[in-house]
Symmetry: C2
Subunit: 273 residues, 2 copies
């Protein structure tokens, strides 16, 4: 497995590859969620490149940029065992310069829900994803459905900027007890970890209610709110796949999105219906 | 010569081409300035694609978007005679959608000089150039040095977004009497046309003063101002090649930029030193 820190060197390497390129952009601290993306990429492409870069522009002032988990040695090992072809671990100074254009995510969709709580977050996400796509020039790129709004906004960017990459959405990976995997789960102490289960449980309860025929957003939100009692709920969103708020859930076209703080840790989860 | 109005069709065509692709993005109303870009592209590439698109996002409210000259038949003929391989003439509705990310040109460099007079203009320029680059995927792209600030900002975007295209700056083309070619020159009546000559004349006077050893920006600006008496001067800028304002002109690293209104017509010109 090759490890590149230099942009020009990975570009050189990329040029040498003949065949399809799967790309898994990450911020490191890899877990089984990332691994499922990596495995899918390896299955479906001739080469797989994983990037590890804690992108400063997607963190807001006061967020956890400085304490975001860094596990370089473990990440490299995980990629190696998975048979990744190359890791790209650039440094901040090479990825950004003092004078450069900024990407503004579409305000109608980037300043609601996650973007309402983290204004500007998605601008930074699109900025780095665009740069990474341009450097790596992948055939396919793999993103988790856990970051549903991110996935929507990246899809919108790919379409409207005419980027040549196929996006592959990947299912949320969960612990046995239901907790959605996240690099931030390591922040949780034992008590918080137990409390956090109510997030995925709320989605299960919503699911049950829908199986019984309840599709009104208000009713579903109430069920979720009840299940999440004791957590600090940041938002409960029910939208169609284009992130328009909907009053009634439609099969195959809806997403329920949750964000909550457990102690100091912000967690998100969602359910695609 | 092929003419494409559909994005997917030109993408299909592009994929079929083996060899280097020269790209000349224009807003139509082609003149000898454009033709010099086209010829350079044809000389240096296996294929040349010209785009003609009056990009609405680079016009400010109240600017001449609606009356910007349209000469489709003549433009097609010019390209055909020049042996262009393909013209891309997309429609606005295909190039832009209601929900999409915006590109913000770097404020330090995009809101001075031309950008101070036309705030937001360069955001629109970068937006469309990025889209066109992504659609056409050219080996080389040709831009006139007349739009010096635009050229600088596009170069900055190519570097900081890691785009795979070589930019080829092309010399300003002038009428015999010195007037820099511009699609907007057709707006000028006879009297205005005569007045407008003082713009290029001012640059000539600056040049003469420099040959005599005068390199102080203030002195050069005074000479220019004097020569342009009677015109409505929008700005006289003296910058280095990175668009930092400079007090003293340096050989091989400076640009003098002028903008003036002649009647209702806004004209720009510049001199690379």
């Amino acid at each position: 497995m090759k490890i590149f820190r230099s942009i020009s060197e990975i570009q050189e390497y990329r040029k040498s590859l003949k065949g399809s390129i799967g790309f898994v952009p990450t911020m490191g601290a890899l877990h089984n969620g990332h691994l499922s993306l990596i495995r899918k990429s390896i299955d479906n492409n001739d080469f797989t490149i994983v990037s590890i870069f804690i992108n400063p522009t997607q963190f807001l002032p006061g967020e956890d940029l400085d304490k975001y988990p860094k596990r370089e040695a473990a990440d490299i090992k995980i990629c190696e065992l998975a048979k990744v072809d190359a890791i790209f671990m650039p440094i901040k100074e090479d990825m950004y310069s003092a004078i450069e254009p900024k990407i503004l995510a579409p305000s109608q969709k980037a300043y609601i829900l996650e973007g309402f709580k983290r204004p500007g977050h998605f601008d930074g996400v699109l900025q780095i994803v665009l740069k990474l796509f341009n450097i790596i020039n992948p055939t396919r790129a793999y993103f988790g459905k856990k970051d549903a709004q991110q996935l929507y906004l990246i899809k919108d960017m790919v379409q409207s900027l005419f980027l040549h990459v196929e996006l592959i959405p990947c299912e949320i990976v969960r612990e046995n007890d239901g907790l959605a995997l996240s690099s931030r789960n390591i922040y949780l102490n034992k008590e918080e970890r137990t409390k956090a289960l109510n997030i995925s449980k709320a989605l299960k309860m919503a699911s049950k209610a829908m199986m019984k025929g309840e599709f009104q957003s208000i009713a579903i939100k109430n069920i979720i709110r009840k299940t999440m009692q004791g957590l600090y709920i940041e938002y409960i969103g029910i939208v169609d796949r284009d992130f328009n708020k909907i009053d009634k859930i439609e099969l195959n076209n809806s997403i329920i999105l949750l964000a909550a703080k457990v102690g100091n840790t912000r967690l998100i989860d969602n359910l695609w219906i």
